[in-house]
Amino acid sequence: MAPSSTTQKVDAFAMMRQAAAGKKPSAAAEASPPKASGSGSSSKAANSGGPAVAPMFKPKGSGLGAGPKHVADVENQPWVEKYRPKNLEEVSAQDHTVQVLKKTLGNSNLPHMLFYGPPGTGKTSTILALCKQLFGPELFRSRVLELNASDERGISVVRDKIKNFAKTTVTTNHDPNYPAPPFKIIILDEADSMTQDAQSALRRIMESHSRITRFCLICNYVTRIIEPITSRCSKFRFKPLDVSSTELRLKEICLKENVDCPDDALRALIKTSDGDLRRAITYLQSASRLHSATTPPTPLTAISVQEIGGVVPDGVMAELAKALGVESGAEDVEMGEPSGRTVGAFETVQRAVEKVVREGYSATQVLTQLHDLLILDPLVSPRAKAKIALTLGETDKCLTDGADEELQLLNACAKIRKAVSEAA
């Protein structure tokens, strides 16, 4: 909402807004005071002038940020927000879901929905884009309620806020450019962190107000949503993004932001982000910040992308693998001879682990990479692999419980070492 003092940014901002709303921005918005978003009145003034930029923020005060809307300056805005899809066409790679939802745009009928899938696959973006297309910027605030885990969401909120919003009748006057079907949408983001009780309290509300209200629940794990809720919703699964669509999207952003991103850096981005587009975009932004901050600006490198992603460099992993008796890629057999546990074998492992821990890499990350390295290694015998997988699983569980990283990692490595040397 706050146009910055630099004028060219304002232009870019206005263009973006134009795209968002499909309307010409009014002059009033451009001339709004340089420091908005601080006081309620000034941001309101800017509001009435131009269409809302980022209507994904909640209509009424909901726990946090009641009152004025807090929207970052466009230059500070995370790219994840900036490049959120504005309409359903822009949603990457979720063809099936998009197809189904597009139909609803035409006949203005919508079921209750449950979106599930791993993080960064576009669940929130899809529903926000759908809402925008359904209601347009004017009605958005009164027709959509978005609640997420940042907001207090116990049973009392379900009983009061959600119920009250669900009860209110919808107004009929609306922008003729949008279908604006006669119902409201309540988006419950991160619904799997809602308590069981709160979820049960939803059940009746969902049914009794279904004439004028639709629910959209978003979660990572569908198993954490209670059965009565899932049976009331039509489910949409969001799958991790494939390489090509991630690449397409990243390239598009690079072009718009003037980021010099060579192919190897792009590949590293896609690999570290693991199908999570949000992560890929955030890493891209962080990396470009680092590289544009130096004088003169340098193109992104795969190494800096990996560092930002917290990935342990291949060299360090190779060293660790060597200490474990697995020479990745090499035709190494002599490490696994009967005298596998020679004197000092344990100490080599201990040293290697100590080194990794001291460098500050996180143990879970090391485990993940060890997993990739060992399980995919054709030279490790299946029996050893089974043992290694077991060890990795156990260690991961212990780490999740909060156990000491160094001890756990050392134990896991000692066991892997044993498994490898025994099997050969």
Binding site: L64, A72, P119, D276, T294, A403, N411
Partner: protein, 369 residues
């Protein structure tokens, strides 16, 4: 008179002695738009020092004017909790894990506060304020998920700097919203350099082998190296007790007496003695003795996981190659149990008993399954 560690703590990014590339990055970031960041690395690697230097780079000398406040927060269940916060005009620093289960309310409250007030000082270099959250890896999941949307929404007024030992316990959504900055532990040479610098500033003559020894026993923890230097200096101003042929320096098999002669914190020596007792004799009577020592450590507020890892490290230095793996296994096993359980002494004692049994069986030549 302040401690060496605090007295010669670097105040600006230029003074930092190692990780030059990281300092360079931080300087560059401070010039432009500063993102949310997450500093992680082992303790004593200099995370906090780097954060403070970055703040200075961001806001200038104003960040040194600190005030300590006690703030009261009201939990949803109407309970009052008090938390100490350190703040300047530009930043606020808090350790929400102090609040235990209520950390979520604290995080929400503080961030909301900061996010809704703009920087009033017109001379401020940046328009945002910084919230530093210490021990972010001890934040509960609830508190962390409360952070996620807030971090995105309030970027105009607020930057979050998280400080954690490891990213394992930071939930994915937070990690993907932050710029991760790894602060690795300094190498031995780097520690020696810093020790020499501090010694020079204090006008001490520090022999090289003592510096190396201190660096080696500090295990990459610079804070600990500096503290041990100071402790050693008060005990023995001329550093005569440390001989140049110390077994840790020459790399030969370590003897028990040499392990004790190096300057270590008292509790560590005590834990070491407990380990020696375990190896000395494996009987119920000895177990009782060790149990007494464990209690002694616990009542001196040494955290139980630290006791296990210290004892096991000592054991690993001393036992034969064949059972080292077993020692680690049981240490990891009981340390995990310890975190899940509620009474530490059970697990500590079980660990000692288990090690005794393993060791005895090894000595008698009975195969241990």
């Amino acid at each position: 008179m302040s401690l060496l560690v605090d007295k010669w703590r670097p105040k600006t990014l230029d003074e930092l002695a190692y990780h030059e590339d990281l300092s360079e990055r931080l300087r560059a970031l401070a010039q432009t738009d500063f993102p949310h960041t997450l500093f992680y690395g082992p303790s004593g690697a200099g995370k906090k020092t780097r954060i403070m230097c970055t703040l200075k780079e961001l806001f200038g000398p104003g960040v040194d004017k600190l005030r300590i406040e006690q703030r009261t927060f009201l939990t949803p269940s109407k309970r009052k909790i008090e938390i100490n916060v350190v703040q300047s005009n530009y930043h606020i620093e808090l350790t929400p894990s102090d609040a235990g289960n209520w950390d979520r309310s604290v995080v929400q409250e503080v961030l909301k506060d900061i996010a809704q007030t703009q920087q009033v000082d017109l001379n401020a270099k940046k328009r945002f304020k910084v919230v530093i959250i210490n021990e972010a890896d001890l934040l509960s999941r609830d508190a962390q998920s409360a952070l996620r949307r807030t971090m995105e929404k309030f970027t105009a007024n607020l930057r979050v700097i998280l400080c954690a030992n490891s990213t394992s316990r930071i939930i994915g959504p937070i990690r993907s919203r932050c710029l991760l900055l790894r602060v690795g532990a300094p190498s031995e040479a780097e520690i020696c350099k810093v020790l020499a610098y501090a010694a020079k500033k204090e006008r001490l003559s520090l022999p090289e082998h003592v510096a190396t020894l201190l660096a080696r026993i500090s295990q990459g923890n610079l804070r600990r190296a500096l503290l041990s230097l100071e402790a050693l200096h008060t005990q023995d101003p001329t550093f005569k007790t440390v001989s140049a042929s110390h077994s840790l320096l020459t790399g030969t098999k370590q003897s028990a007496s040499d392990l004790d002669s190096v300057p270590r914190p008292d509790w560590e020596k005590y834990a070491g003695r407990a380990a020696e007792k375990i190896l000395g004799e494996q009987t119920p009577e000895r177990l009782l003795e060790v149990r007494g020592m464990l209690y002694e450590l616990l009542v001196h507020c040494i955290p139980a996981p630290l006791i296990i890892s210290t004892i096991s490290k000592r054991l690993m230095d001393r036992v034969d190659e064949e059972i080292k793996a077993d020692v680690v296994y049981w240490a990891a096993f009981y340390e995990h149990r310890l975190r899940l359980g509620s009474k530490p002494i059970f697990h500590l004692e079980a660990f000692c008993a288990r090690i005794m049994s393993v060791y005895k069986q090894h000595l008698l030549g009975i195969g241990f399954d």
